[in-house]
Symmetry: D2
Subunit: 134 residues, 4 copies
């Protein structure tokens, strides 16, 4: 790995202090984030908002890129596609990202989000990042 959990978390804290979730694990091609759900993430009726889940998924793929490629601060999301599958209850969310491709110019990943303790995904996201020249 190019960066471990602590160094990825430190990088996020420095560069993206308003980020979503804490890094729980990184491994070849993968990363896991946990979001402790707070009032700012909720929608009326007691469910987690769509933008919160999309922000979490976006961050999870970015963390997988950081851990596997190194500290590329200038990577930017160019496309994000989200399918919302079930209404998440107000509990911690886990986001499991997996890189599908890391090319010279683009990285693509997918993320499955589920509620801690439930097996069924609440959302599934794919996203593309444009990578700066290395």
């Amino acid at each position: 790995m190019e960066m471990d959990v602590a160094s990825v978390q430190a990088f996020l804290d420095e560069h993206f202090p308003q980020g979503y979730g804490r890094v729980e694990a990184v491994a070849p091609q993968t990363a896991r984030l946990r979001l402790t759900v707070a009032d700012e993430h909720l929608r009326p009726g007691g469910t987690v908002s769509g933008p919160t889940m999309m922000g979490l998924a976006d961050t999870a793929i970015y963390v997988a890129i950081l851990a596997n490629v190194g500290p590329v601060a200038a990577a930017v999301t160019t496309n994000l596609n989200a399918n919302f599958l079930r209404r998440p209850p107000v509990r911690d969310l886990l986001a499991d990202a997996r890189l599908l491709k890391v090319g010279r110019r683009l990285a693509v990943g997918e993320v499955s989000i589920h509620t801690d303790g439930d097996a069924e995904p609440v959302a599934h996201v794919t996203a593309t990042y444009s990578l700066p020249p290395r």
Copy 2:
């Protein structure tokens, strides 16, 4: 129109108080929202965050549905696809939504987001809503 600007805004304020943007206009198949950018919408480096733009786009399509179909509180987003085109500066964003389909069970819309005063879009979003039985 089933609802005008004031009644859609009142509906949003009641049901989605943490929403994104203010309703500026509604018309057959379309709606326009304005987001006054604040600290909570920013990313380091002085740009609007992706989740902010996705939340704004999602709300804009919902507003177009409300104005054209009526107050369907139980409509839920099932898919959202975003293309991020340019880095938005820290200025008001305008989101122009257009409904592509309003069926019995699904509504689909597209949104173009641009910075107030610039013609070029900073993001383009399509989204699908599942509609409750009417």
Copy 3:
């Protein structure tokens, strides 16, 4: 399973004779199709065309629905999102579909396509089907 490999294949042959690929396996939530690449699937330069891969992925999710839900001829694709990851060589393609959700009105699945003998995916697809009332 509601349908096995032979009965799903017979259903496809009857209802979608111009379909993509042969059913190799079905299991809870999953299905595998194989496409024997022919001239009609190729693009100049010796690679499989995008529409061929999208058609294969679309069929693979449909097969997973048939096998797990039963013969729903009236299911229709409402959204398909494809990420093209690598240039496939002219060899058999395998499409592995997995259902992310089977609801009352919508089913969502994801598909990973890879060349027979290669581990890396050449394309990744998610798609939504609208299901008829059962």
Copy 4:
């Protein structure tokens, strides 16, 4: 324009002989293609297949890029997102593409497909192309 209708059509005929549709018009940021529907494009029940519409949309954005950027044979589609809105009857399809961005490395476009003579779109597609260094 970098290429006119005749030169774009000649380029397609040479490089993509199995392409979808004929070029009807090109203009700044836009292109229109017409598909004369034939047996190979149909699904049982008398409707145009999804892969046909996705192939047509993909080609329409490529034509808009060619007309506006010049003959970039090595451009490749990296993402395509399709929303299927209505069941198209068996009549000519028109695809209207519009470029949302032409950057140094990526081009993004959207396409609205409708049946000749009907105003309502049958499908809406966005797609991203990776451009070779120029």
